[in-house]
Symmetry: C2
Subunit: 307 residues, 2 copies
């Protein structure tokens, strides 16, 4: 079993994380957080979401955040700042603000799709087709998400074939990559491997990413199991931002610090500087008035303060 | 790669966990905790430690705890209640209180051995030989621990050959099983696998157990990697009791709830009832005035309270 030599991390804390925080984080703090994450070496940072501020007030400053990043310090290579666009209206606003990459989000569970975006899976794919077409015409890259790839908070276990079918549709439509989300973190290496194997049977694994929540403490083991299958792209969230909307007080997205620690231990390159990542983690945790939800951050910070 | 069909868990919370808690837990609470753990199906529960109360005041009631358990409800099959015995004096006191199984503890790091038990590794093995001989004469079973099998808080990375050498000595001396401790939780699946492979090259893997701390959030991935190598015994601590003596505020022993969730997800039998385990977890967490340090416990309890 050979693990990938290099892994790409997609940092989702500023969007998927902060969107699920109670606090409305000021634009300047978001921009500083994202700049610090870029300084730490993260090459893809999901910056914001172009959804209605009535749905997601936390992301109401989407255009300001994106504009500030694009006008900020230039890095080579430039990080990508994908933004979430649920529909054509959001897409147009994102492009207007300078977006060069967008993301769309489907689900592998009918009930979750209806509750999350008010339409079934097939209907959601139709809606997204319009966004994909518009993006292709403008040479804007488009990434796809699939929620509930192993389990759904309403339906329970999800058939791996269902996840594979949605992933295949999104790639066919024109997404360059599909991120497979264990939205409620219920997966273990067994269910995660079954799901990836079903997906990799219909699409190249190079185009699949793992997006695992750590609700039950399984995310790092699930990433390890995914690496064993050759998956080499993972989403993670600085300081474990976001929590779990389906279980108050439980963990949400896997923490970027923990993923980087795992990868470093396995000798896998990811281009991220742990010291700088910890500074970014402390920056946002301090703003939110709590400890980072990352065991690595807590252990390393405890060691630092003991020196 | 075939995972074991069945795994044995050794619950170490009442000893390794409570020994590292600030609070002195009353005897009756300890006994009730252990009884609840036995009710949940745990067949091996480390009950206490026969060390000097000057060193470890938390375990000063060792004889009372063990006597209460042995006089308590009889289960079939009877759980084993191993107790830690650092020397012949402790061993005699343990046997006097009715111990049928004891445990001795060496280290794979010279510096850790000197700081923890005031003598080097070779000297510690000589001291333990007297305990093993006494135990063999009385047909008392003896389990061995090795600390710092992948890393030491003082020396850094530990040579896998060193861990294998100590494990082999303990088994040769007469231990029926050796528990390999990642005492500071620094290991990842790469270093854990190298260490197990070195050990399994000199002793049968059936006689090795994994004892992993979750300081850096890697314990569940490390258990998964160990299962892939065929290891089938793991130590864990209810509610993640114990914390980390080397990094205040960091996690300690991997939580039993998280290990049971992993095993259930992998379809591996361990004989533990999750509902009853959660009740035991809440019982001791409530006594200590905090949430269980187990993501599984927090997520399941959050779901219960949302019902």
């Amino acid at each position: 079993m050979t693990l990938p030599a290099r892994v790409k991390l997609v940092e989702v804390g500023p969007r998927d994380g902060l969107q699920n925080e109670q606090a409305i984080v000021p634009t300047a703090i978001k921009v500083e957080l994202i700049e610090r994450l870029a300084d730490a070496g993260l090459s893809a940072i999901e910056a914001t979401s172009f959804v209605s501020p009535q749905w997601v007030p936390q992301m109401a400053d989407n255009a300001e955040v994106l504009r500030a990043l694009l006008a900020g310090p230039q890095r080579r290579p430039a990080p990508s700042y994908p933004v979430l666009t649920p529909n054509l209206k959001g897409f147009d606003a994102a492009v207007e603000a300078g977006a060069q990459e967008v993301a769309i989000f489907a689900a592998a569970s009918e009930t979750f799709s209806r509750k999350n975006i008010n339409c079934g899976i097939a209907e959601s794919l139709k809606r997204f087709a319009a966004v994909v077409d518009a993006a292709s015409a403008l040479e804007v890259r488009i990434r796809g998400y699939v929620s509930c790839v192993v389990a759904c908070p309403y339906e329970g276990a999800v058939d791996p074939a269902k996840s594979a079918w949605v992933a295949e549709r999104l790639l066919e439509m024109g997404c360059y990559e599909v991120s497979l989300g264990d939205t409620i973190g219920a997966g273990t290496p067994a269910s995660i491997k079954r799901m990836i194997e079903a997906c990799a049977a219909v699409v190249p694994i190079e185009r699949l990413a793992g997006h695992y929540h750590d609700t039950y403490g399984m995310a790092i083991a699930n990433i390890y199991a995914s690496l064993e299958l050759g998956m080499a792209v993972f989403d993670s969230s600085i300081a474990g931002l976001g929590g779990c909307p389906y279980a108050a007080g439980a963990s949400g997205n896997v923490a970027s610090e923990d993923v980087v620690y795992l990868l470093q231990g396995l000798g896998i390159e990811c281009g991220v500087d742990m010291e700088k990542l910890l500074v970014a983690s402390q920056f946002i945790a301090h703003f939110l008035g709590r400890q980072p939800a990352s065991k690595v951050a807590r252990a390393l910070l405890a060691r630092q303060s003991a020196r």
